[in-house]
Amino acid sequence: MAGHAGGTKGGSNSMDKSITLPPDEIFRNLENAKRFAIDIGGSLTKLAYYSTVQHKVAKVRSFDHSVKEAEGDPLYEISVQEEITARLHFIKFENAYIGTCLDFIKDHLVNTETKVIKATGGGAYKFKDLIEKKLKLKVDKEDEMTCLIKGCNFVLKNIPHEAFVYAKHADPEFRFQNTHPDIFPYLLINIGSGVSIVKVESEDKFERIGGSSIGGGTFWGLGALLTNTKRFDELLQLASRGQHSNVDMLVKDIYGGAYESLGLTGDLIASSFGKSATTDKQFSKEDMAKSLLHMISNDIGQLACLYARLHNLSRVYFGGFFIRGHPVTMHTITYSINFFTKGEVQALFLRHEGYLGAIGAFLKGAEEDNPNQYSWGENYAGSSGLMSVSPDINPMQRARSGTFDMLEMDRLERQLVNLPLLQDPSSYVPDTVDLTEDSHAREYWLYCFEDALDGVVKRAVASQPDMPEAVDRAEKFRQKYRHKLQTLRQQPFAYGSLTVRSLLDTREHCLNEFNFPDPYSKIKQRENDMALKYYQRVVRGLEELSWEQRQFALVRGLLAGNVFDWGAKAVSDVLESDPGFGFEQAKQQLQERPWLVDAYNQWIERLKGEPHKCALFFVDNSGIDIILGVFPFVRELLIRSTQVVLASNSGPALNDVTNSELQILTERIAGMDPVIQSAVREDRLTLVQSGSSSPCLDLSRLDKVLATVVRERRTDLVVIEGMGRAIHTNYYAALSCESLKLAVIKNSWLAERLGGKIFSVVFKYEVPPKGLDQHRH
């Protein structure tokens, strides 16, 4: 991504290097930067700053209704406004570039009031004068371990799929962990020059319970003595090619085989370097490096296990420069932990391990802004992602010097929490298919998103007809997203598990990055307008039906509405070529019963019983879907005296209806329909934001207000609608109350995979197992 100045052979700390990087690509948003923090390690510098990003956002505003609008006037006005959001930037580069980088920062730092820079890491002391001289900021040192822990807590809480287990011979080699709602307590084993073992019990409570002097410095120092190899990376490379059994005394060297009565296999190392106690033999550098690597990894693994057992902890994270993304050490540590705990404890690693100190130092400096009160989200557009340094996968990675790694985190406007109705928050996985594991599906979806790119670019341009430079920006968007797709093809694990959701979200992040906040705003507006005109007719038609007929018509309406989905290529093709494609036609497209997944009969039986107390409805598309599909269905629920909470996206994604749009629509429908009107007035119908701007749905990251409302109203039914929310995600989500998941499969590949055809219907009605506490808190 960034340009570089070639290798850094010799004196990696020399200052005279110039870098030919496009710095504006790297130090983005520097003009508005405030609050800096820096973590200077033995070879890498991590810089953090907080900045604000000016973004174009599409705002909708209702017209004044007192004036009777002329036929054909739009329902609401859309204006593109500037909005300021907060963003955290983290950049990692080699210490060799520190001077150049500080100069660049100084030159571009326009209007900051910052007087200090928080600093941590062993190098903070060494570079103190340089930083103070160049930046004219006072260096304020923070304790390294405190920063590390703070950073660790932050990423564990805010970045889904942050932690992973590593399995060298598995495909994929990275297996990401779900975000656990409660991250404490855990053990952090930091392997720097030495080893620190820290038990973390809460945000502010941690304790160094032990450590060892045999760590990364021992590998490096002893390795350099033994092999005359200077660089840490080179030592690891040597080790990866060596045979430790030439140097180590194995159990079989002593026993001739296994020590069976103790269950010690013959290949187990009995004595590290046990064979080198002789002067008659020469040992290869590779073999000695390998033996040393095993010795140190095993030793650390053993101590980690002893401490984990003593403190009864099962979550053990490893970090420090010894680990930092090196498959070789992640493998040996994993092996050691498995050996010593017999699988009871898993070695966990972190995607952003290298940033922990910088993040923590930053958070220390930002305490007055209460960063922990907010939820943050990884910005896929601005983050480099996890790189495999495995030479088999990425031969270029070895020549990584000179590259800049970046991480960007957006401050979310809402604080995100679990849906209180998840059966087991700790085992909840939003995504239905993990594309890191399923290579067929991965191939298909990567192709699919690449294929759809032209259309997305076209629509983005069309959404801003008054801005001639939109074409340029759209082109930049195309390049950026295509590059992301290519990266993901090579390294599907770059941002955690690859999923349809992450592909969609990455696209939204990239569109936002190039100021296409809402490419569908006009289309949504037109469709909303059109659908509103039919609302009363649809409702009247439904009222004429018998109860049984009406229930079926409502479900069919819901499903037919869901056909109108610009996110699905099959549909957007039809809509593009035949704008008159109507509600009735959509119904014709629907699969006849029995559906692909058909729980309709159970649902009807349920409806004959007691009404639900409160239904939480996650809505999907604008236009016909929300107005002619969802509202009549909701109306029927309200008449049954079930309260309804409509949850819609906080920000735009595709043609999904946003919360602000839904407010206007609801107002308008209330104006036409006394049932809706009284429900709104009496607060039996409530609108809430989901907290998300994704076409998919992560029930573990929802707006806190939504969670409160759901709890207060004793919600006992959750309805999830659409492919993105009910198929790509949440298809297997287990809830502690009744749930309806319904969607029309508008993708023939997916339909086929599920055993059906395009426009197959999924109507899943689930009741939690009896005896489950329906209202856990």
Binding site: S213, I214, G217, W220, I254, G256, T278
Partner: protein
């Protein structure tokens, strides 16, 4: 008066422990031989006895630790001296050849052997010297031998000792003590590698864990780093060296104590940490390297042993094995580490016959009353 008739095994009485680096041999020399017996004694038995007892070195590498000899010992109704002999495992084949040359097999004795080599060399004994080994588990032998030697004492003195004032180098002194009530104990056996056992009674024990960073690692690394050849040489160098030129201390990183975590400035933060720097690598002495290797390995063993003691809730930690032979640097360091890091809770104990307990245990097995014998 005997209720069970014990058939005494025929002389010679040997116990052998064939480890990864060293072979430990104990030989019981009967001193109560009657004239009648003397006459009956076959020639090669006599010559073996004479060879072993009149020499203190055998071949180039065999050594008798005369200072460890247990005198006037009564074993199985016989009185005599117990001799302690060691030689490198590398010389095992020469030893077996000697057994063949001396026609050892004609003596019809059982050769009790323990350690990994009992398994590894079993077929060599058979094919080269026509000798059958009675293979014994090394941990059983270790514990039995240790308890036995402790019970008979060291020629009137206690076998066991500890260090008084382990945290005070000026006043740290070796003190004898008794192991009268030894259970439970954490037994740390430091040979080429390390085994750690929790021992609850003579026959009730478990292997808690082990580490591959042991005596073999110390010597192996020292040979590579300094070009030395023997354990004695390595220790000699280590005794003259200063590990703080090699290791990075807490104060080298933090300028003093790391108060946030209560770490003293003098604690080692990173073993060999200074060696990351090219300049320091070029100026370092072999003695310093040897010392750092010794300190690193010793502290690591201490640290693992301490964690095991805490996990197993055992306060008495007994260190044995040939790594501790003539190695007061390590014994004192272990005593210090146990005391300091446990705030006086744990006590490190040592035994004079360090690495010979397995061999003694093997010998006891030979003399054990058994129905089959």
């Amino acid at each position: 008066m005997k209720l069970i008739s014990i058939k005494k095994p025929a002389f010679p009485w040997f116990g052998m422990d064939i480890g990864g680096t060293l072979v430990k041999l104990v030989y019981f020399e009967p001193k109560d031989i009657t004239a009648e017996e003397e006459q009956e004694e076959v020639d090669n038995l006599k010559s073996i006895r004479r060879y072993l007892t009149s020499n203190v070195a055998y071949g180039k590498t065999g050594i008798r630790d005369v200072h460890l000899e247990l005198r006037n010992l009564t074993l199985c109704g016989r009185t005599g001296n117990l001799h302690f002999i060691r030689f490198p495992t590398l010389a095992m084949h020469r030893f077996i050849q000697m057994g063949r040359d001396k026609n050892f097999s004609s003596l019809h004795t059982t050769l009790c052997a323990t350690g990994g080599g009992a398994y590894k060399f079993e077929s060599d004994f058979r094919t080269m010297a026509d000798l059958e080994l009675l293979k014994l588990d090394e941990l059983d032998c270790l514990i039995h031998g240790l308890l036995y030697v402790d019970s008979v004492g060291f020629n009137g003195h206690p076998e066991c000792y500890y260090f008084e004032n382990p945290s005070d180098t000026q006043n740290c002194v070796k003190r004898p003590c008794s192991l009268d009530n030894p259970f439970p104990m954490l037994l740390v056996n430091i040979g080429s590698g390390v085994s750690i056992l929790a021992v609850y009674s003579k026959d009730n024990y478990k292997r808690v864990t082990g580490t591959s960073l042991g005596g073999g690692t110390f010597l192996g690394l020292c040979c590579l780093l300094t070009g030395c050849e023997t354990f004695e040489e390595a220790l000699e160098m280590a005794s003259k060296g200063d590990s703080t030129n090699v290791d990075k201390l807490v104060k080298d990183i933090y300028g003093g104590d790391y108060e946030r975590f209560g770490l003293q400035g003098s604690a080692v933060a990173s073993s060999f940490g200074h060696m990351m720097s090219k300049e320091k690598r070029e100026s370092i002495s072999k003695e310093d390297l040897a010392r750092a290797t010794l300190v690193t390995i010793t502290n690591n063993i201490g640290s693992i042993a301490r964690m095991c003691a805490v996990n197993e809730k055992i306060e008495r930690v007994v260190f044995v094995g040939n790594f501790l032979r003539i190695n007061t640097v390590s014994t004192k360091l272990l005593a210090y580490a146990m005391d300091f890091w446990s705030k006086g809770q744990l006590k490190a104990l040592f035994l004079e016959h360090e690495g010979y307990f397995g061999a003694v245990g093997a010998l006891l097995e030979l003399l054990k009353p058994s129905e089959e014998a």
